[in-house]
Amino acid sequence: MAKNYEFTPEDLQEIEIIKAKFPEVMPATLPTLWVAQRRFGHVEPEVQHLVAETLGLPVSHVHGVATFYTQYYKEKMGKYVLDICTTTSCQLCGGYDMLHYLENKLGIKAGETTKDGMFSIQSVECLGACGYAPMMQITNDVYVNNLTEEKLDAVIESLKEGKIPEFEPVGMPQHENRS
């Protein structure tokens, strides 16, 4: 089944290193799925078959693991996946406004991908950064805090140029007072 996808020799080497870390093969499923997602940008059913074949595990097991975690993309996604938090704190501080602004700006709805394959938007549950609401996460990686419309414009522009925003340290209020 895994005809269209193949791991590079470097990937396979990395998977061997992962496998060596565990007494059994099964726990290597999670990190190997990450290797696959990094390589192909998603873990579609075909990629799940490839992972299962590479590890010598039942496909059903890999499928079960891949579907359990929302961070694995089970379908093709844009180059940058923008996860806008819409749970309580962000919701109160304008998370939905940010989501809708982004939807209008990119011309897609949450859960969709732009035609050029650059951006996907997802409305997600709490990412644990309630102090800096509203916020979003870019492709399971960098958090962008204290979102405003201007800030979103800037982020999109820089992403279009291939620049991922840097991690912004957010100081604690009590620390600010002390200095």
Binding site: M1, P45, H49, P58, S60, H61, H63, T67, F68
Partner: protein, 578 residues
């Protein structure tokens, strides 16, 4: 001996049993869904909660600490425990829902959570009537639901494979089916997809659930999520009679139950036998019900005007049979038994013909090479190969039997699958007069000159010896034209039989086959021929076999019933060859 106190009663135990199994083994009850005695206990349904405590022990001298009343001080576990995964220890004190309000409440609340997204479509659900969720909700569950918002919707009518259909909304994610494919059948075809309230069992994308044992997951599913594609919507559980029987499609002798409604076998399910099949049966064996219902030979048929078969009366059939034999010498008659027929049938055939003067008895084993596995499927396709051998029938190769048929004038054939499984072709039996005792309309019965319809395993009580030399017996499950549930003491009565009469419009005669057990026909034949051999019912025939054939020493229906089948001594593991 170590002891445990359950609901204030003292029990002794050995080894390290799990609490739930121990409670069940001692005739008490705790509700549960995900636990299955043959599989691991993941404790994920959380239904079997009990309150558990252990006595406080002095660390220095190992003595139990006592309170003012002289009773042991019990240190209760901080939370309730799932009894399925709790190992029993010495002195443990357990409170179940019977004595603890708290446990009863915990179980009720767990049940309420399980039922939140369950559709409660029992009126249209196949599982209703044999559904652990339904039964236990009645017994231990809440009276109504406090859940007023929309339930989570999931895929319905998913064809997981050729034989199993999934309704994901009904699933309570006990993972019994997933564990079955991992631990019992070993195909690893199922997994739980997604998480939280969206999860349900599914195959990997692009894969089919075509496990040769797949329908067992339907049997162990504690709700109506997995249903048998074949049996879906065919009958309600309470309309059917359940009769114990034996699988006839293989040599393993898998214990089954036949489910009969209005004399039609609706389905087969496995019956627990620790020595043979545990809780399981292969999917292939479940199709056997078609053999019992469809294409049956009803009323004797006889060939007239060349190859035209016509129905005839029993008297005429008997007369023709007897006259044919009277026209030839015993040495011209070839008697062929069958591994597909029971011990009693083969024995009665053999006995009448021995009295008449035939010396040699043959059969051809039905073996498919490479068909078996290490589990319940066997190369041997017949249920009674060891039984016929033990009676004194000689196994023949196809060439040997062809040569024997060539030199015979009359062939008496108990096996109805001879031409169908290509032992011989219809040309080979052109010359001799062929009398076929058959259950089903087959190529073989069509080629025969005289066909005597006989009862199949669903219609008689008879015994079969499996590949491991274990003798087990069947019970009649459906009536023939000449039997009646109330009069035939081997038969079980069902709800409709107790409430209906022959004049009720839901009872009809159409599904009863006009056939007779081999031993009854042989009885008539021996009387007609003036031979001195008589048979009673199959129970008495087995007593006769037990006293005359050494391999069956000590075998009786009572023993088979009490011991769930008897291991025959002197029959080694079968060496079958085609």
């Amino acid at each position: 001996m170590p002891e445990i106190f359950i609901d204030g009663e003292r029990y002794e135990f050995e080894g390290k049993p799990k609490l739930l199994q121990f409670i069940l083994d001692n005739g008490k009850e705790v509700p549960f869904f995900c636990y299955h005695p043959e599989m691991s206990a993941p404790a994920n349904c959380r239904q079997c909660y009990v309150k558990v405590g252990t006595p406080v022990q002095n660390r220095e001298n190992g003595e139990y600490e006592l309170d003012e009343d002289g009773k042991r001080v019990i240190r209760w576990f901080p939370k309730m425990q799932t009894s399925c995964s709790t190992e029993i220890t010495d002195g443990m004190v357990v409170l179940t829902q019977e004595t603890s309000e708290e446990v009863a409440r915990a179980q009720k609340d767990t049940m309420e959570l399980i039922l939140i997204n369950h559709p409660l479509d029992c009126p249209i659900c196949d599982q209703a009537g044999e559904c652990p969720l339904q039964i236990q909700t009645y017994k231990y569950g809440p009276e109504g639901s406090r859940f007023e918002v929309k339930k989570v919707h999931k895929p319905k009518r998913v064809e997981l494979g050729p034989r199993v259909t999934l309704d994901a909304e009904r699933c309570i994610n006990c993972t019994r089916c997933v564990r079955f494919t991992e631990e019992i059948s070993g195909t690893h075809q199922l997994t739980i997809s997604s998480r939280g309230d969206k999860n349900y069992p599914i195959t990997a994308p692009g894969m089919e659930f075509d496990d040769p044992y797949s329908v067992n997951t339907v049997d162990i599913c504690p709700v109506g999520a997995l249903t048998s594609t074949d049996f879906r919507f065919k009958a309600r559980v309470w309309e059917m009679n359940q009769t114990p029987s034996i699988d006839i499609t293989g040599g393993k002798g898998t214990n089954v139950d036949l489910w009969v409604r209005d004399n039609i076998v609706m389905r087969l399910t496995p019956r627990f036998n620790a020595e043979v099949n545990s809780h399981w049966m292969p999917d292939a064996a479940r199709d056997a019900y078609k053999l019992f219902n469809e294409n049956r030979v009803s009323r004797p048929t006889i060939k007239v005007d060349g190859d035209n078969q016509v129905k005839t009366s029993w008297n005429n059939a008997l007369e023709t049979f007897a006259e044919t034999l009277e026209g030839v010498k015993p040495k011209d008659v070839l008697v062929i038994g069958s591994a597909h027929a029971s011990v009693e049938e083969n024995y009665s055939l053999m006995k009448v013909f021995s009295t008449w003067g035939v010396n040699d008895y043959y059969f051809v084993p039905d073996v498919k090479e490479e068909f078996g596995d290490d589990f319940l499927l066997t190369d041997d396709q017949a249920p009674n190969t060891n039984g016929v051998k033990a009676l004194g029938f000689t196994a023949q190769s196809t060439d040997e039997i062809k040569a024997a048929i060539k030199s015979a004038k009359v062939v008496v054939l108990l096996d109805g699958t001879f031409i169908d499984r290509e032992v011989i072709s219809s040309k080979d039996i052109k010359k001799p007069y062929v009398i076929n005792l058959a259950t089903n309309q087959t190529e073989t019965s069509i080629a025969a000159d005289l066909v005597i319809p006989i009862t199949c395993i669903a219609e008689h009580a008879a015994s079969y010896v499996n590949v491991d030399g274990r003798i087990q017996r069947s019970f009649p499950a459906k009536e023939t034209k000449y039997t009646h549930r109330k009069l035939d003491l081997e038969m079980s009565e069902g709800r409709l039989d107790r409430h209906g009469t022959n004049f009720d419009n839901w009872v009809n005669e159409d599904n009863k086959i006009d056939c007779t057990p081999v031993w009854e026909f042989m009885n008539d034949l021996s009387k007609r021929l003036g031979l001195n051999s008589e048979f009673g019912i199959s129970r008495e025939i087995m007593d006769e076999i037990a006293s005359s054939v050494s391999a069956f020493d000590g075998v009786s229906y009572e023993r088979m019933d009490n011991e769930n089948g008897i291991q025959l001594t002197g029959i080694s593991k079968e060496e079958v060859s085609a």
